[in-house]
C-alpha cells in the first residue's frame, strides 16, 4: 500500500510526438483513481509510465517514498491487469497465479496459501487446474485480477480491464472490482474510456484530453461542475447540450458557450425555448428527444410516455446552466 505521486509527468516519443504533458497527480494511500478520456488522450500511456512499461521523458513518478523513474517494472511493487488479460496460455490458472510469486522466490507454502486465498475470494477454486482457454471471459478476467491480488502489491494498475466483456458481465465485474479494492484497501489506478465505469468506480476522476489533464475531482464534482467544455461533453450518460448563449432568451453574453444537460431541459407549455423535433430515441426508462433550437442541435430527456408537441416548448431547470468561455473552453467562474 502506498501513495503515488506524479510530478510534471510527460512523454515525448523519439519522433517528437507528444503523448502526455505536464500531469500532476497525487493518489492517496488506498484511493481508487480513474483516468478517463477518449481514445488517444494519453491515459494508457500515463498508466504504462507508472507501471514502467514506457520510459518517462519528463517529470517524476513516485510510488511510496521512492522516485521510480529508473526502476524496472518488477521493482516497482505494482501489479497490472491488462485489457486482453495477458494470461499465460500454456500455464494452468494455478501456475498463472503463482508465476509472479515464484519469480520472487516466495516459499512454496506461502505461494499455496496466497493462491488458495485469492481463488476463494474470486470463486476460482474449481478452475485452478484449467488452462485459460478453457475459461469464460468473466473467469479469465477474475484470473487476471487474482494474479494481481496474490502479489499483495503497493498498487493495482488497471488498463481497460472490462472492455472485452459483454455489457451485462461488465456491470457485474465492475462491482466486483470495486468491492475487492475496498476490501483490500490497495491503491488503484484505473484507465477507461467509458465514463459510466469512471463515474461508478472512482473515488476521484482524472479527465484527460490530448495528453493533458482537463479536470481532477470526485465523480459528482466533475459531473456537477465540469471545468471545461470538453469535460461537460464527455461526462454524463447522454452528452451535455452545448449551445451559443444568444440561443437562450435573455442570456446574450458574447463569447460564451452554455451547457445544459438533457435532463435539465423540462417540457412546459409556457417555456421560453422552442425546439424543432427531429427524432426520438427510446431508452425504456425514458425517451431522448432530438431537435434544433436556434440552429443548434439539442437533446432532451422526457418521461417514457411523453408525446412531444411540434414545436416542443422547454424551460431550463433553475441553476442548471453551465457557462464556458467560447474561446478557451474553460468554465466561467460564478456560473
Amino acid at each position: 500500500m502506498a501513495r503515488i505521486t506524479l510530478n510534471g509527468v510527460g512523454k515525448v516519443y523519439p519522433g517528437g510526438t507528444r503523448a502526455v504533458g505536464g500531469v500532476d497527480l497525487d493518489v492517496a494511500d488506498g484511493e481508487f483513481v480513474v483516468l478517463v478520456g477518449p481514445s488517444g488522450c494519453g491515459k494508457s500511456t500515463l498508466l504504462r509510465m507508472i507501471a514502467g512499461l514506457e520510459t518517462i521523458t519528463e517529470g517524476t513518478v513516485s510510488i511510496g517514498d521512492r522516485v521510480v523513474n529508473d526502476i524496472e517494472p518488477a521493482g516497482r511493487d505494482i501489479a497490472m491487469v491488462f485489457q486482453n488479460y495477458a494470461l499465460y496460455p500454456h500455464m494452468s490458472v494455478r501456475q498463472n497465479l503463482a508465476y509472479g510469486l515464484k519469480n520472487r522466490r516466495t516459499p512454496a507454502a506461502e505461494i499455496a496459501r496466497r493462491v488458495d486465498e485469492a481463488a476463494r475470494m474470486l470463486e476460482l477454486a474449481p478452475y485452478l487446474d484449467r488452462k485459460p482457454r478453457q475459461l469464460s471471459g468473466g473467469q479469465r478476467q477474475r484470473v487476471a485480477m487474482g494474479r494481481a491480488i496474490v502479489r499483495e502489491p503497493a498498487a493495482f494498475l488497471f488498463d481497460e480491464p472490462l472492455s472485452n466483456l459483454d455489457a451485462k458481465l461488465r456491470g457485474v465485474m465492475r462491482w466486483e472490482i470495486k468491492t475487492l479494492q475496498r476490501r483490500l484497501a490497495t491503491t488503484a489506478i484505473y484507465v477507461t474510456h467509458d465514463q459510466v465505469e469512471a463515474m461508478t468506480l472512482g473515488d476521484r476522476l482524472v479527465v484527460l484530453n490530448g495528453g493533458r489533464v482537463e479536470q481532477i475531482g470526485t465523480p459528482l464534482e466533475v459531473y456537477r461542475r465540469p471545468a471545461s467544455v470538453f469535460v461537460a461533453g464527455f461526462i454524463g450518460s447522454t452528452p451535455m447540450n452545448l449551445v451559443r448563449s444568444d440561443v437562450l432568451p435573455g442570456l446574450a453574453r458574447p463569447g460564451t458557450t452554455v451547457g445544459i444537460r438533457p435532463e435539465d431541459l423540462v417540457p412546459s407549455p409556457d417555456g421560453a425555448l422552442s425546439m424543432q423535433v427531429s427524432g426520438i430515441e427510446e431508452l425504456g426508462v425514458s425517451r431522448l428527444v432530438h431537435g434544433v433550437i436556434g440552429g443548434e442541435r439539442v437533446s432532451v430527456v422526457v418521461p417514457p410516455d411523453f408525446q412531444p408537441s411540434e414545436p416542443l416548448r422547454l424551460s431550463v431547470r433553475p441553476g442548471a446552466m453551465h457557462l464556458f468561455d467560447a474561446a478557451t473552453g474553460l468554465r466561467r467562474e460564478g456560473s
Partner: protein
Amino acid sequence: MKRALFGNRLLPWLLLAPQLAVTAIFFLWPAAQAIRQSFLREDAFGLSTSFVGLANYAALWGSAEYLNAVRVTAIFAVATTLLSLGVALVLALAVDRLVRAGKVYTTLLVWPYAVAPAVAGILWWFIFNPTVGLLPYVLDRVGYDWNHLMRPRDAMILVVLASAWSRISYCFLFFVAGLQSIPQSLHEAAAIDGAGPVKRFFTITLPLLSPTTFFLLVVNIVYAMFETFGVIDATTEGGPAQSTNIMVYKVWFDGFIGQNLGSSAAQSVILMLIVIALTVIQFRWIEKRVAY
C-alpha cells in the same frame, strides 16, 4: 468444408485429372516400381532378372556400409536440424527486438533460401577447398590444418554447414512469425511479474513457440534426410571413406553408379517408410498436441 455441386458427373473428374496424372506418373508409379524392383535381382549384365523375396533387405541389414550410412544420416540430420533451428531462433529473436529495421533484415536473411542446393554446395566447396579456399587459409593461420578430403570430421562439418545455411532462412521466417504472434502484453505481464529477459525467454517465449519449433523440427529432419543430395554431391560425394554418405546419396550411388538396382530399390523403399512415418507424426501431433 464447402460442398460444390456439379450438374455434370464427368466435370469434377476432368478438373481433377491433371493433378491425378502428375501424382500417378511422378509419385505412385515410380514408388510401385521401386517396391517391385526391391524384390528382384538382376545379373551384372542386365540379361536376366529373378525374384529373390526379401533377400535385398536382408543383405542391407547385414551390410556394414549400409548401417554406416544410417549412422551418418542420423548424425547429419540431427546436427543440421539443431544448427539451423538454433541459429534461426537467435536471428529471429534479434529481429523481433527491432521495430523499424526489422523488415529489412527479414528480407535480407531470407535470401539464402533462394539459392539452389547445388549452387550452395559449390559455394561452400570453394570456401572450404583445402587448396584454394578462404577458410582453410584462415584456419591454417590459427594452426588448424583443414582438409575435408582427408578428414571425416571436417567433411561432416562442411556438409552440415552447407545444408544448414540455406535452411536457416526458412526456419527464421517461421520463428519470426511465431514470435510476432505472441502478444506483447504477455512479455509485459511477465516483466511486471518479476521475470528478467532470460527467464521470460525460457518460461514464456520458448513454450509459446513450441508448436512452431516442433513443426520445424520434423520438416528439417525430412529436409536433411532427403533433400540434401545436391549439397553432398557438390561437396564431398559421400567421402572421405563413406563418412558423409547419407542414405539418400547411397540410394543414388548404388543404383546409378554401382548398378545394383535391387539393393538401391530396397533402400529407397526404407526411405519411403521413414518419410511416411515422419509425415504421420507431423500431422497427428501438429493437429492435436499444440503444447498449450
